[in-house]
């Protein structure tokens, strides 16, 4: 053994007393003075460290440490909870858990991004969403029931508006016709005013004989305006004009078509809306509890309110319509004028309420839509026939609306 090995061994030994028991080390010590000095130094050093290690610590620390079982023991958690927490801690710290958590969060965010519906409508057109949702509602619910009131051998003009819908504007008490594909608008007041919507002989002219095969085939969400020619005034209704707006998606049967045969001039609107049931047909089923007037004579319009729909919206409209249309003394042109008056009064009311009725001139309804004063549905309801525009005149401080042709 050389001196280096001796020193290394001594340095690594925790108990120096073991050296004296080692014969090889003892033999080297006897022959090597330097190693004896080193061993003496090592013993002095070890005793010094032992002195340091055994130095007493402050009594308050001793007291605190000895009190740990009493203080910590009372507040220590049960072994089950501690075990569960340890397990949970290990789970959370595990790599697989972190990977799974990161994947889950990433997937969720990706799904949110994918499924998020983009905003297609401009903010500047606040009523578009409303109009779209209303249109969706109209298409979802069964809107109209239509009957076939025409007598036999009566020539008819049938106009079919594909995808058209007619409904009540609950706020404006207007009838709004909305063509689904092209957004074409047909206005019910025009029916009342002109007694016909349009002539469309090219579409189809159905005679009663032909219709007898499908008298009960009616289209949900469709309205049939069966307008007999007032001039004829005959039971045969040879000149009767029937305007029918039909929706292609599906068909239903008319609840009753037998009573319609003697209706010469009738407006048939069977609204099967859950909230509004407005019927101008003689054959509409009506709730027993609702006021119902039936009139078999020409020019009579019967109003039938659905039992589940005593709402003020339909009531207001029906009241106005009833007021105008049920009056058999009114001619059709007079009825149309009255409806126009209703529209004019409502437009005027809107203008006055927004301090817009201060200047004479044509009313730009499109501008009112763009500025958010009216909805698209109101716009469609209030828009007059082609070529005409609402004109505001102020006479003696009183505003008045009339229809004029805009050049």
């Amino acid at each position: 053994m050389n001196c280096k090995e001796f020193k290394d061994l001594v340095s690594e030994t925790t108990d120096l007393n073991e050296i004296s028991s080692n014969a090889e080390l003892s033999a080297h010590l006897k022959s090597c003075e330097g190693c004896r000095v080193f061993l003496r130094y090592e013993e002095s050093l070890r005793s010094g460290f032992a002195e340091i290690a055994e130095a007493p610590m402050p009594s308050d620390i001793t007291r605190r440490i000895l009190a740990i079982p009493k203080t910590a023991g009372s507040s220590s958690k049960p072994a089950e909870i501690t075990g569960a927490l340890t397990w949970l801690h290990g789970l959370v710290n595990s790599f697989s858990f972190k990977v799974a958590l990161a994947s889950g969060i990433t997937g969720f965010l990706f799904a949110v991004l994918l499924l998020r519906e983009p905003i297609r409508e401009s903010v500047g057109r606040p009523d578009n969403n409303f109009a779209r949702s209303e249109k969706t509602k109209q298409l979802q619910r069964p809107l109209f029931r239509s009957t076939n009131p025409l007598p036999e051998n009566s020539p008819e003009s049938v106009i079919q508006g594909v995808g058209a819908a007619i409904t009540l504007d609950p706020e404006l008490k207007k009838m709004v016709m909305a063509n689904k594909p092209a957004g074409r608008v047909a206005e019910p007041p025009e029916f009342f005013k002109k007694h016909e919507i349009a002539r469309a002989p090219e579409l189809s002219t159905l005679r009663e004989t032909e219709k007898s095969n499908m008298p009960h085939e009616e289209i949900p969400g469709a309205v049939s305006y069966s307008l007999a020619d007032e001039e004829a005034g005959k039971q045969s209704s040879a000149e009767a004009t029937k305007a029918r707006f039909a929706f292609p998606p599906e068909k239903t049967s008319s609840p009753d078509s037998s009573d319609s045969s003697n209706s010469h001039e009738s407006h048939e609107n069977a609204f099967a809306d859950a909230s509004t049931d407005f019927s101008t047909s003689a054959v509409l089923a009506a709730a027993p509890s609702q006021p119902q007037r039936e009139n078999e004579s020409e020019g009579q319009i019967r109003m039938a309110m659905a039992p589940a729909a005593p709402s003020m919206r339909a009531k207001s409209f029906s009241e106005k319509a009833e007021e105008i249309l049920s009056d058999s003394e009114n001619t059709n042109s007079e009825k149309g004028s009255l409806v126009e008056d209703i529209r004019a009064s409502e437009i005027l009311k809107l203008l006055e309420s927004n301090n817009l009725a201060d200047k004479e001139g044509f009313i730009d309804l499109e501008r009112l839509v763009m500025r958010g004063f009216i909805s698209n549905r109101k716009f469609r309801a209030w828009q007059p026939a082609d070529g005409n525009s609402w004109y505001l005149t102020i006479e003696d401080g009183k505003a008045r609306l009339s229809l004029r042709r805009k050049h």
Binding site: K7, D8, S11, E12, T14, E33, G34, R36, V37, F38, R40, Y41, S44, L45, R46, S47, G48, F49, E51, I52, A53, E54, A55, P56, M57, P58, D60, I61, T62, R64, I65, L66, I68, P69, A72, G73, S76, A79, T82, G83, T86
Partner: protein, 192 residues
């Protein structure tokens, strides 16, 4: 109780045996305290840290299942010390790269060493520990104050045995150099 292993004492202590707990404190309390005191030079902080160590070994019953209780205790102490160093902004002290140190040996005669009083040696050690770098001081404290063997030191420091042995030797050479310097000065003073 006197002949019980530390692990058995701990099992009884955490089960509520206050005597076993006191015995554990006698075995390790002052050593842990001195380990913190020599490495922080702050008696109050050392007291808090040693209390933290004993609190952990009492509360974390599930953390220790096998092995040496002594190495577990000083691993906790070592981790707390490193946390404290980091908190106080000290640099990382656990680098594995150690500079080469030449073993100059003890250049003092036996008579001089014999002439050094025990208490004088304690003061020398204390002063030299202060002049050691943190890693060396920690190694010296763990081996010579805590009483860990080289394998136990390796376990506490989470080092391979060879690396641990090198680290201890490195620290010891530096300590020897500092002590030799102190003793030479003492010898010079005596000669005067």
């Amino acid at each position: 109780m006197e002949n019980m292993k530390p692990e058995e004492l701990w099992q009884r202590a955490v089960a509520g045996d206050q005597v076993a707990w006191q015995r554990l404190y006698e075995l390790f309390g002052t050593r842990v305290y001195q380990f913190f005191l020599k490495n922080t030079r702050n008696a109050e902080l050392a007291g808090d840290k040693v209390q933290e160590v004993f609190l952990r070994i009492f509360k974390n019953k599930e953390a220790f299942k096998y092995g040496s209780l002594k190495t577990w205790i000083f691993r906790i102490a070592r981790n707390l010390l490193i946390d404290e160093w980091r908190r106080s902004g000290q640099r990382e002290v656990l680098s594995d790269v150690l500079p080469e140190i030449v073993d100059a040996g003890i250049q003092v005669e036996e008579s001089v060493i014999n002439a050094i009083e025990h208490q004088q040696m304690v003061c020398y050690i204390d002063e030299c520990l202060d002049r050691l770098e943190e890693a060396d001081r920690m190694a010296v404290c763990l081996v010579y104050i805590a009483g860990l063997s080289i394998p136990e030191f390796a376990e506490v420091m989470e080092l391979p045995p060879g690396t641990a042995k090198t680290r201890v030797r490195h620290a010891r050479l530096k300590l020897d150099a500092l002590l030799s310097e102190k003793i030479q000065i003492k010898r010079f003073e005596k000669s005067i």
